[in-house]
Assembly symmetry: C2
Homo-oligomer: 223 residues x 2
């Protein structure tokens, strides 16, 4: 079993450290307000201090982390109003992505989307909110990637990081799960019909409804 000779213990790069921290923020392993002490990250990742500092600066630029002089980095927390603003931006950008996707979609992409849709239907039948959440993210990502607009894709990816957990939360409400899936099916129909404007409107409504549900569920967590 010849193991490849050129990949053993390579020290992580700044980008990798940033990914590592970002991942942990997304999944809730690092919670808002938590301090990110350089030495701890060094110990856990094996990176050098420069790389860790570089990564934290990068995450500050993304708005994920707050850095105070001589007090270091901590996970930034969002207010409910900021979440609302993020959802508003998502409505705009994902709506536009849906518009362009519909105008460009070829049969192969539509087939991939249909495949995902079938799996989502199965999740609704089986009451599998967690899996539904994952596939739902895939579904949205497919639309955005298929829109042919990498700029919008990048900005959406950044917007989604701070609300990653919330993107799963609302599907534990069975009613919301069904509504969301019905939205998806309706959008599929509009895509197939080539109705770009209709699909865009539907996407915006869909995301707007998602926030309303969320606001009801989560409002207790915010001031």
């Amino acid at each position: 079993m010849p193991c490849s000779p050129a990949d053993p213990p390579r020290p992580p790069t700044g980008l990798e450290i940033a990914d590592w921290v970002r991942q942990r923020i997304r999944t809730g392993r690092f919670v808002p307000g938590q301090r990110l002490v350089e030495v701890d990250i060094i110990r856990q990742t094996g990176a050098s201090r420069s790389k860790v500092r570089e990564a934290l600066k990068r995450l500050e630029g993304e708005g994920l982390v707050e850095i105070e002089e001589f007090r270091g980095a901590s996970v930034r927390s969002s207010t409910l109003d900021e979440v609302r603003q993020i959802y508003r931006a998502r409505m705009a950008l994902e709506g536009m992505a849906m518009h362009d996707f519909t105008a460009r979609a070829d049969p192969a992409m539509i087939a991939r989307l249909q495949d995902l849709q079938d799996q989502l239907d199965a999740c609704v039948r089986d009451r599998a909110p967690d899996r539904f959440g994952r596939l739902n993210n895939e579904w949205h990502r497919l639309i955005v990637e298929g829109s042919g607009n990498q700029v919008i894709a990048d900005h959406l990816q950044r917007l989604n990081v701070p609300i990653h957990r919330l993107l799963f939360e609302s599907f534990y409400d069975d009613e919301r799960l069904k509504t969301a899936n019905a939205d998806h099916r309706a959008m599929m129909a509009l895509i197939v019909a080539g109705d770009a404007e209709g699909a865009e409107r539907a996407m915006r409504r869909h995301i707007g409804d998602g926030f309303e549900t969320l606001a009801r569920i989560e409002s207790e967590f915010y001031s």
Copy 2:
């Protein structure tokens, strides 16, 4: 003349260096493809090397510069297709900002907007495309700031940096100047009438037309 005792030669911070470089990229003092040599920036700004490197990394995160290992930073250049994608994102976000502005606008904001509009009219009469460009930027910024959505404002600011020069270019076409100003006046009317959806559609058309004009003018500069 007591000069304040606590502001003498303070070394620039990383953020200030980033602003300094960003400004020079925006105004075309640094052109796409140009190498940004650390020592040169140090000499011109008086910052330490750490700060300069920090600033360049930050700008890389913003997509403004490209950093290659052991080759350093250079100003990233955009293809025409990327400019198109940026304009598409602007249509989405500024459209949404216009929607929310119209729904929220109070008399004071509308008055400030009207004031700017009067000055824009004067520029059209006087054939002052340069001043028109500056005031036009102000006009758009006022809409976005007044929308009450800082997230959208931030993302738009980032989107605008690489196309800053282009935002002035098309107004040297007298026809475009008049059309754009007519768009503005029409949007003002929709805002006053409280027609948020109409204003959003108008803004999207306005930006879309801006790109079309640009694409005609500038297409020769891109492959």
